[in-house]
Point group: D4
Chain length 255, copies 8
């Protein structure tokens, strides 16, 4: 509800084109939609306008029925729909309601592509330290792809074999933004952060031995990075990294 | 040392224009410089080219003498120089060696501006939850300013009085990137993250009662933000936020 | 055992109406009851008088047999009986002993309603940030309902889509007390706390990505809330929230 | 900005009594006030209406100058003013600007009483486990007192000498709400919670040996209380307890 | 190897009754025994003499085969044998080798009683806060019983219903030592500690909601107990409590 | 208030020797005493009878005035008085009121000995791992000494030089109970625990490098001791260890 | 790429024996190899030369297909191949591709021995505190054995029965390096560290009761060891210990 | 007390050359020495023989008097003496007793060199990530130097400017062992670990912003290092690193 709309609405009231009760209603009516008989969810249809991406379904803690119903509601718009952390069983239920939905197995994501693809906005370098970090990286890739970004993946280039990374150095430096996915000690973030002049979004993963503490170790590494260009998202949160990268690359366009 | 330079160097060797020993030396000679009789520091003059910002001096743990000597060396180049977390005593020593250096008291930073100012690249909205968070916010402002970014500050607009924030909503939405500085519970990050389509760099601060645990509470809040566009830097690390914001806004320019 | 009773008892002794041994017994006899051949539990029948709610059965760590036996004993009084964190298997065993018991699936609670319903005492606004938080919210709802409170539920109104919350603002402000259930970063507590003048009971949930640390993140958020009217209960402890809300709303009555 | 006001405003616009620009301004104009040349604070004059208590000044992290200026601004209204965690030096500066301000030494609070005292609304039992917990308890007392509540203090009645507590049992049971302040292991919360039918607001304090971990131990104790009526605020946060207690006792009045 | 034995051995050498090599061997030969072809264990047969209890088998992390073989070896002595944290499968395997072994299901312990029972040495009051704490309490009971102590159990007397505990007060005060088993917030330790003059061994259990953090909350409570006579063992470690209680009660005999 | 007293009191009421009101008063009158005009403390004179030791003053968090006043009140009885964690300034103030009080500098304790010394009850071996642990050990020694126990100190016998400990092995084994004080990694607890058949009270100290985390490391070591006879008190809590040791050795007497 | 090679390459360019493009290629061509159609891994064939051991496959987080493919690629060289943390299912899949591979069940490792065995380089004493620590110890043994080291195992000699350890003292002192594997409290590290003059590599294991916190307790013990010669690896990381021990013993050879 | 000595002693007893009492004394007499009238320390003169380094004085927690007395006792032998974490005041007191003692200011160590210097045994590369880490590195250098090792220092070569490190790559690879000192995120450990075939001893330092948590972040990084040759010592424990490095390099000599 921007100032212009508000002004226009007030003008309509003044001109008698809009009744007070109607204006009241409009002022109160915001674009969200309750779901289910007992309103177990409130879909935020406004988010696409406000934040540049439609609401995304985070599956854990929701029943399959809830996911299916929310997915269906979101599919009724013409937007793309994304459900993250979805297992195969959930997908099988969703696809019965939304037959065009596909399942990105490595990323554990359900994707429904309804918007026509546009020219890619920017280039994201998606780097993972190890093979075991790939599921998280793939969640980032699927998200960024859905948000119309070009993504180049460079997997398994951890710092224990530095030459693997250095070999891809120029490729990484060409990107508008780097997504860095690493478990264990997460040192790759600092090394890459020291090599590039673009933002590095670091994603700690829960892969590792005991004192990784399910991702706490790489999280702390990344937060304390001696290279200054590194910011951090939640452990295993590939989705956030893909989303943030897209908000950054979209800066490369005139606004 | 880019591929082109390497190729050129090899061509010179082939043409006999450069002796093997000389080439060897060049291949080995990288632009860093040891400081002090006992080499207590290695200045990384190359960083400006590689990462877009000259090396910055983090003062804690360094003696005043070390800070002065490093500052002096960096000042010999024509780059801007920045020393963070500097107390007044350190500044007084630095300014004797670098008389043009100024002290940003609220930000606890020493600044030496040697590069001519250019047109500002992008617009950063710098938002703080409380008055007590201002020192950290100011460190971000000084850093971003030195990196040629326009910064608008909106301080003390925490979520306990939501209308204060909503009033500045459009101003925030106009920016290319938001820096969000908050202590206590840090909830402002999620609220702002839900209102904008640009990246939000969240800085937790160590301001708060007992279970803030010196900033752990807002750090966790920000990492778990239900709004997807939020990435996080270290507790009280205004410098990193200012730096990252600049790497993002510089994307708005053709590269 | 109030002062009046004690005085009365002493008067009876003085008057010879009560033998010393009998008085001794009465003074010692307090209304609790051992359960099981080996006294695995001591039912506190006195709690209803003292605290306003009969003893509640917390199921984890108890064998099904123990739950059934305790439930049966409590059912012999005419009080309502509540067992929390009960799975379906336990319910199936309980219902064989107490056929009127019902199972609240979303809340994972077994309920036996034996007291006649009275006029509702107060109004509780029960707000959840996400759909995934509903099981915890439902535990609060079932508890408060059993304690004779009116409850209005407003689910999935997290701060990432602030307008959903603001739309329900007046509804929330009408209540005598607010129960706020949120996982992830729990920022909703601070925002709601800043909008109302009644007490807010915040319940962190264990829903979230890695650094939620099974609810630690929203717990810290809520404890550090910059809005002053927020107090906090244990992670996922919907029962406590429902119970406390009822102790508060019952203040609205003359005592 | 209540619905009625909005309706009235729209009616005025319709009737031409209010110009669109004027209405726009009113809709945007919310009762907060920037403080200082550089707007280091935004006073939330609206909070008194919305939450029942004027904005309170939390002193740590603010310069003395900032506290004085904010205090002065708030004093210009006719509301009571409260500054918490204030040292004597800050008070000495404040009192020069607001001569009627008094200093509650034990509570470390600056108080300016400008509203005429009214009949006390409810009764708060303020219980502390030890003598060392008194400063935190006093912060609660000062806050509740300023909010027009009657407070009875019962200090140093920790569970190691249970009879001290049991002696005050009836006094505690008479109150509308209990504030419970305890450090070390905080067990008093559970014991008191088991004795009363009114809400217990528990405040952990940072008093204790090593593994108290500056209040973490009593915080966890209180969150895990086996007595159901206990909710918890931040470590050492007497202010929040006093404020919440007042929001509860004010329920005892007809609304 | 006491001083007297050493002296005697040296006398024998001097007298030529013992060859140097033989003495060397004796000095080196200590009463432990390797188990298994690959020496996966070294049984410490000396422990019974040294510490008053034969070696005990802690089952987790050992294969069933290893438990059976160690149990068999220990059974070859005439000592009692105890295996803790044993599941039913392990017992079924053990009983085939040691047919007299019995399974204490609630305590998850395998017991082989080979020593003739003696008069009980002392009296242990074994108190649990809840029904869910019984498995840990039973491990303590089985251990103390095997060590020839009389144990009286008082279960489910948590502080939320203080009168249940007070009713058993004299029974508890009669004991030589108290074992206190409690989960959730563990406040019972402080209350009981304030009522008795004998040592209280507190055992935190992992029973509880979220912030119990698997027993961390009662552990901290017990370590910070404001009642001075409380010492603490590991979470869920009923065995240690039973053992320590026996070392204390055995002090009640002339040494 | 034992059963016998209660019976006697009731008999007196029955016989008319005691008025109901008087009996009521007696039943309510328990031996504690408020201190200070504002009752900042409630002295528990009953504790000596109930727990075997008079109330002890823990100084941190109390003002010097409060310590002096409480100390004076306790001194009015004929009991010994002990104030722990007292600095020299506090002692200087106390001694003006209680001239016979002495200051145990290493233990930071104020001691007033008013009871005539009796024959020592038992023997405590007080072992410290390092010289830096001595202040905590001395607090234990002063406490146990005041409680009429014989204490033998064996300091600086940490496991890095095992022969130092083994040399004192028999001396330790002669004791009725061992107090074990250790910082750094606290391994001494397990080693000593494996050598004796009496209870070992382990006190972790906050002495150590970084990951000692102010005593957390030895605390965890001691709680996880592979030797079964070890129970643990709070970090640096020498007082508790001395007190508990006395409750144990007093078992060696006929009760 | 050593200096000598670089010099030689430059000489070849100068002499025209090597074209610029070819040199460029050689400078860029480093010995790693992408695996899989989508390059899910980059094998670091250079590691054997650089670090003395071929790349090792850490199985968790990798699909069985990925492990098989990587194993196959590594097997194509003539190096030994090692896969750690492999379950039996993975081995069954691997052995179909690499029939000579064997499964070390206790160590959960897949081993392919392709290099001819050489004379053992040094002697490693591999000591475990308990039987339950053997799986971790065996991972160390398998690793060191594959790296051509002699290993002597001394299992189940924890400090609770010190004589078991002391009996093996000379055997341990003969070694070039000690690997120390211990769970629970990990005190063995300090004791052994105080007995030898060679490096001790300590491995904490996740075996233990509650406050072992999955190995945190022995980790802290080992880091805080009062014996100076102890360094520590990650919890349960037997592989690292075996590898590091080999890097140390290989120092015993002339370089 | 080796087997040979024991055998010889027994032979002497047999031959009547040594009385039983004398043998007994010798067997008991171990080379440690009590210090101070109250035996506040037990010097372990045997450590030099057993572990290759005389006992070292860790100053924190000891009074200046204690340090001086212990230092003096150790100086009476002809061994070198080392006191770590000593401030200037302590040195000034020590030097009055031991005039040849020198103060290593950067390392905060007091050194007394009494043994004649021998040829250096091995080469240690001592690498620090930043200038602020130098005090910890210097403690390692002083220790290793005193233990007769050659040390080459390479300071301020953190991974943010990778070329600084790569330039020193060969120098590092020449060493027998690497000591790696790093604060902030400690990523240098993994990078260096991936470049060398010798053991890397990593020392985390407490230098860094908020979430460094006083060195916890680099500690976790180093423990989780994806490069296998890294073992870790306590935070800021330069002494341990220097000592361990010496135990490793001494392996390069024939034993």
């Amino acid at each position: 509800m921007k100032t212009e709309s508000l002004k226009e609405l007030l003008e309509q009231v003044k001109a008698g084109e809009l009744a007070v009760e109607g204006a009241l209603e409009k002022l109160r009516h915001l674009p969200f939609e309750p779901v289910g008989a007992d309103h177990f969810a409130h879909l935020d249809h406004h988010r696409g306008l406000r934040c540049g991406m439609p609401e995304v379904i985070y599956c854990p803690g929701k029943t399959t029925e809830q996911v299916v119903e929310i997915f269906g509601k979101l599919a009724e718009t013409d937007n793309n729909v994304l459900a993250t952390r979805a297992d195969k069983v959930t997908y099988d239920a969703v696809v019965r309601k939304a037959p065009s939905a596909t399942y990105e197995e490595k990323a554990r994501a359900i994707v429904l592509r309804q918007e026509s693809e546009q020219e890619k906005e920017g280039l994201i370098a998606l780097v993972s330290a190890g093979t075991s970090d790939i599921p998280v990286a793939e969640e980032a890739r699927v998200t960024a792809d859905l948000l119309n970004q070009a993504v180049e993946t460079i997997y398994d280039v951890g710092v224990a074999g530095l030459h693997r990374l250095l070999q891809h150095c120029e490729q990484i430096q060409r990107a508008n933004v780097v997504i860095l996915v690493a478990g264990m000690e997460g040192a790759l973030a600092s090394v890459v952060g020291g090599l590039v002049r673009v933002p590095v979004i670091a994603v700690p993963t829960s892969i590792g031995y005991g004192t990784s503490f399910s991702g706490l170790a790489p999280l702390l590494t990344m937060l304390n990075s001696c290279a200054a260009g590194v910011s951090v998202v939640n452990i295993d949160n590939g989705f956030a990294a893909g989303y943030i990268a897209a908000t950054i690359t979209s800066q490369a366009m005139p606004r």
